[in-house]
């Protein structure tokens, strides 16, 4: 039981980690609380499903993620950036965008469950737990993606500029960082990470037009737990949410139905007892 929690928790941490990091980047730099974030993840999964009928896995995955990138950047430049000061409007627009994507998926693919064949079918035994090889592949993929994202943020001038812009917009501009450019990068990277998460789950999950709802709640809970705007906080939050979910599913009878409730409970508890989250000093200080 314990090893099942460990193994499945790690796999889920990878997926949630990619989602939460992307969400936190978008919020931290572009100041967009993007409720369509997991709809991007869904769009990538369906994109993969669609293109797979026509080509191999790699080009299909690439096309799907580019498609999501395009949707995200277009929505940002045309709708969200011009409206950014009206926070409530931004929220409404992002939720509308999510619903639009949901309806588009419903229209194009119907309400049936769809699935993407596993790249690596079959199971292996890890610490005495039977695990789908595909899940291990997803974990490996998430690990590589997160490491690359970290290397980009920590080890390059672009990453430094993005992190500086997330801390203090005015001070960042004063050292020559273009906020508008940093925002484009953050939105692009954020959406790309969401798309990669979608590609990683597609072969393990069933695709349906509401598949973005539960992960959205998880991502919100993760970033609020980690402290809105904190990138390490978002990753830590994702790991906590993943393990909480897996633990409940494994230990509580009927726990599979409680997945969403776990995220909701954590979200509410954090908001009540520690609204600034674990690392929540990130950008309280804004002129």
């Amino acid at each position: 039981m314990l090893s099942a929690i460990l193994v499945n928790g790690l796999v889920l941490s990878g997926i949630y980690g990619m989602l939460a990091l992307g969400f936190a980047l978008t919020y931290g730099v572009a100041r967009i609380l993007n409720l369509a974030h997991t709809a991007f993840y869904m769009a990538a999964a369906y994109g993969l499903f669609f293109f797979l009928g026509r080509m191999g896995f790699a080009p299909a995955a690439l096309l799907a993620s580019l498609l999501v990138l395009l949707i995200a950047l277009a929505a940002y430049k045309l709708l969200l950036e011009p409206l950014r000061e009206h926070e409530a409007t931004v929220l409404i627009v992002t939720i509308a965008l999510a619903l639009l994507l949901q309806e588009a998926v419903l229209l194009l693919f119907g309400a049936h469950f769809r699935s993407v064949p596993a790249l690596l079918p079959g199971f292996v035994e890890v610490f005495g737990v039977r695990v789908a090889q595909q899940a291990l592949l997803a974990l490996l993929f998430a690990g590589v993606v997160l490491l690359l994202a970290w290397a980009l943020l920590k080890g390059t001038r672009l990453g430094l500029g993005i992190r500086a812009a997330a801390q203090d917009q005015e001070a960042a501009e004063l050292v020559g960082i273009s906020l508008s450019r940093a925002g484009n990068w953050a939105v692009g990277l954020g959406a790309f990470l969401a798309a990669l998460a979608g590609l990683a789950v597609a072969p393990m999950a069933t695709l349906e037009p509401h598949m973005w709802n539960a992960p959205l709640l998880v991502v919100l809970a993760a970033v609020v737990l980690g402290g809105l705007g904190s990138l390490p906080g978002a990753l830590l939050g994702a790991v906590v949410l993943a393990f909480a979910e897996v633990t409940v599913v494994n230990l509580v009878p009927g726990g599979a139905f409680l997945r969403t409730a776990v995220a909701l409970l954590i979200l509410v508890l954090v908001l009540v007892f520690r609204p600034e989250g674990l690392f929540g000093t990130a950008f309280a200080e804004e002129r």
């Binding site: 011009p82 409206l83 950014r84 000061e85 009206h86 001038r157 430094l160 500029g161 992190r163 500086a164 801390q167 203090d168 917009q169 005015e170 001070a171 960042a172 501009e173 004063l174 050292v175 020559g176 960082i177 273009s178 906020l179 904190s230 000093t281 990130a282 200080e285």
Partner: protein, 247 residues
């Protein structure tokens, strides 16, 4: 080097600056003094592009109702329509009020962020220069900037601005909120920066100390320039002494 002509600033209906004319020549240290709320910070925000940024970030809302008129030229080029990152690239860098370090970044990352203005190959040398000027920062290079003392944060803010190798460095109230000893150190360091050949526009509350360093000074009051001249003659002027030096 910097020429400001008839600069006026309105936030909504509140006028903050009234036709300010000011000039800084290459190699000078010019001081801008005046009581709290006179508009000194607003002036620096206007010439550094922060006012334009503020208007752009808040466009379409009440907070974005900002009017900036007049002319600002830097090295002969009009800059009053530019954003801060464009102005910084031209060589006018502001070390802002309240220091504004990137708190979650380390000291060295803060400095490297300041060095984003430079071509990659020149960052290391500039970092060496800043560490030599502020050895304290070298000792703390791995620390989170938010954990530094006020004086260290001020050094970091100046060091970060210097990392972009500015032609003109504008500094807003570097000594405010620091202990007397640390203040003295900050003024020494500003004198050093000036010796390095960097032109400085300094805004200070502590007028006596600032004027002792300066070549020329301007006095701002209620958004208007009320006096200007060589720093030495202001220091000796009895009326100025009474009003601004509390003598």
């Amino acid at each position: 080097m910097l020429e400001v002509k008839g600069l006026s600033l309105l936030y909504g209906k509140a006028q903050i600056l009234f036709g300010v004319d000011l000039e800084v020549r290459e190699g000078e240290l010019v001081c801008l003094v005046g009581p709290n709320g006179a508009g000194k910070t607003s002036f620096l925000r206007a010439i550094s592009g922060l006012v334009r940024l503020e208007a752009w970030l808040h466009r379409g809302t009440k907070a974005g109702d900002i009017r900036l008129t007049g002319e600002v030229r830097f090295l002969g080029q009009r800059i009053d329509g530019l954003l801060p990152h464009q102005i910084a690239r031209l060589g006018l860098v502001l070390c802002p009020e309240r220091r504004r370090p990137f708190k979650e970044l380390t000291v060295e990352e803060n400095l490297l962020a300041g060095g984003l203005l430079l071509p990659k190959g020149e960052v290391k040398r500039q970092l060496g220069f800043v560490y030599e000027l502020f050895p304290r920062l070298a000792e703390r290079r791995g620390q989170r900037a938010g954990n530094l003392s006020g004086g260290e944060q001020q050094m970091l803010a100046i060091g970060r601005a210097l990392m972009g190798r500015p032609r003109l460095l504008a500094i807003d109230e570097p000594s405010t909120g620091l202990a007397p000893k640390v203040r003295a150190l900050v003024f020494e360091q500003i004198a050093r920066i000036r010796q390095e050949g960097i032109t400085v526009l300094l805004v200070e509350q502590e007028a006596a100390r600032a004027l002792a360093l300066a070549d020329r000074a301007y006095v701002l009051s209620n958004g208007r320039l009320v006096r200007q001249g060589p720093a030495a003659s202001l220091l000796e002027d009895p009326q100025f002494q009474r009003t601004y030096l509390g003598l």
